[in-house]
Amino acid sequence: MTDPLVIFDLLLALAIVALAVAALSVRDLYAMIVVFVIFGLLSALAWVRLSAPDVALAEAAIGTGVTGALLLKTLHHLRFASGQRSVSMTPTIPVPTGVMLANAAFCGLITLGLAVAFLGAPSAGPGFDTLVAESMPASGVDHPVTGVLLNFRAYDTLMEVVVLLAAVVAVWQIERGLSDAPAPEMGEVWQGFARLALPAIVVVGTYLLWVGAEAPGGAFQGGAVLAAVGLLLLLTRAYVPQPHHRGIARGAFVLGTGVFALVALLVAGGGRVAFEYPLDHAKTLILLIEGMVTISIAVTLAALFHGREPVALRMEDRHDT
């Protein structure tokens, strides 16, 4: 009972809940995002505590990192669009306090019910442990999470990449017109740092991808780290998307989905069904898929950050609105 780790867990849990409340109640939106990022990092820490390093990595890189960047970019845009005024984003009709309280009470009740149900559920109950352990040798990889993601439940993962593709198509569709919020100015020190950091990040990302076959890491975490490269390039104006890059960008978006789906289809035959990789080639195929998916994820996340489809700055070069 006096295990210091329990005290750590309790403190961490309290901090997470407190930060969640703070994120919703802090008035300033910038502060809200900062609180959220800390909340995300602490959640990732908690997941490490729960022996889920892959999840922690993904949450830190994508759930917190990329999401935080997206939120900041949007906040920047909103402040620019409403002309530096203090941003009240929604022209709100104030919700009556009664309704608010009713909502809160309602959610409280639901949460309480869920907590009761959770406490009644078997802890460390039945799972896939044995099944996964038995099937790992036939999966072609050594790291169980990668085995699940890219072999046992590869179909889910394919559809997850499809979700990303759908997101980037939707974002390109939604945002249009010329850039109306210039990128934030960055100091020279920052730019210098970025130039230095870039190669290192690339190396880390690629390593994460490679190591995923045996140890925590893999396509998504690697992709997210590589996406950070893209973000830096975009922020530092080291790379400015050009209209004629659209084709390449489209290709990069669909690369992961396309290759993944093609491999899944082409392995079918001779008694095998879709997604059933021949054991001899399983590792190669999975690495191929992971590699392509990593590229797609990196480019897609960067594009989601950039937002608009790159369009020509001069009107006469533009073929569509």
């Binding site: 019910g113 869920l114 009761v116 149900a117 959770f118 009644g120 559920a121 078997p122 109950g125 039945p126 799972g127 896939f128 099944l131 996964v132 099937s135 072999n151 046992f152 439940r153 590869a154 179909y155 889910d156 559809m159 997850e160 499809v162 979700v163 593709l165 759908a166 997101a167 198509v169 939707a170 390109w172 569709q173 939604i174 249009r176 084709g247 489209r250 290709g251 978006f253 669909v254 989905t257 396309g258 789906a261 899944a264 289809l265 082409l266 392995v267 079918a268 035959g269 001779g270 095998r272 069904v273 879709a274 997604f275 059933e276 990789y277 073929h319 569509d320 609105t321």
Partner: protein, 485 residues
Amino acid sequence: MTPDLDPMILAIFLPLFGAIAAFMLPRAAAVIGLVTLAMTTGAVFWLAQRVLATGAVIVPLGGWGAPLGIDLRADGLSVAMLLLTSAVGFLVSVAALDSLKGADQARQRQYFWPLWLLLLTGMNGVYLSTDIFNLYVMIEVIALAAVGLTVLSGTKAALRAGLEYMYASILGALLFLMGVGFVYMQAGQLDFAGLIAAEPSAAMSAALALMIVGLLLKTALFPLHFWLPAAHANATAPASALLSGLVVKAALYIFLRLTTYMPLPDEILITLIGALGAGAVLWGGVQALRAERLKLLVAWSTVVQIGLIFIAFARAGQVGLAESWKAAALLILAHGVAKAAMFLAAGRIKDEIGHDRIRDLDRAPVRPTLAQFTFALAAISLIGLPPSLGFIGKWSLMEGAMSAGYWHWVVITMIGTLMSVAYFSRVLSAFLRFDRVRAPVGEHQGWALADAAPLTLALTAIGLGLMAAPILRFIEIGYPFGAAL
């Protein structure tokens, strides 16, 4: 090595590859879209034939088999939904060719096809899935593509509606995901067989409640319908047809499946679901009577119809659940076809007249007769007049309720029918009134190509009523789930 093709795999992968191709080659997007739709429809017919011949079929993806892997499974109900989706989708696509042909719609043309094909991938995936986490991913594919289609026109109203829709969609999906978490904790499995085998417990009740609330939010059952009318009314016509006719059906389908495998534990809950349906019928009816725009009226009618489908589900209480889902399924199919027709017709009317204000429809000297006729036919099915499929569905609903002595559902259905007559006749009488027009009325005669697709849909909605007996036999194939395994 030539890969072995399976129609189930094709039904998911064809639209996926189509979406990729349409995104890569924007100029050829329409052609790619139509070809993909045609091929997908073909694959679904192939699958239907196979299911008809051999009963439910399964593909264990990756060769692992559930519960470790994910199985695709097609039975009568899923194939019926697939047929609805691809056939209606094909006709809506044909109609989209015309309604997106404007010079100022290049952007809409470019993005409509990849988004719609991704949407189709997601919907087909839902109908073939047997794994609740996979269902979560699929409803997210649907949600993102559907929001993209909602805001295709780029107007402020559409964007606002799209954002509300997005919030509702994400929240619904997250509630569902939370439910998945509880199922995992209790059962340690995520496939349907695991759901059936799971012991009833507090965790399973919480899971069921979370998933159902999430799905009700996605399918817009009163009072969780708040996002639907604006989203469906402000989208461009083909997108509205897809959203109203097909997209809400995916969550409805999951609801039907879940409640088959995890029956609602209490009669009161079933009554509650029915009561919400009744609320939808009444509130939606009142709003449709007040709506000032044609498309808004049609969108409110979707709220009403969804309510009716839930009443059909609850029509005979717990004892009747083994049969009631069929009545609900009939209404789902009927609404899918008829509502797609009606939204396309409404879009055509708006295009021809130039506005869709109901009170001014009878002032227009232009009368797109065929589109108006289509609208009327679709209304016949939605009101539930014979011999349409809507009528058969309503008949099944009332028959079951009456046999079980649940007269309140009969009364609600009749009130709903009268209200639907009232709000549709607002529109229909405007079509047929001429004395407020100053100029000579030009009624279109003969055939406009753009009317062909909606008219076909509307006639199908009427004609399918004659096929109700075979449809009912077909959707029972492979029911209940355990039978085919």
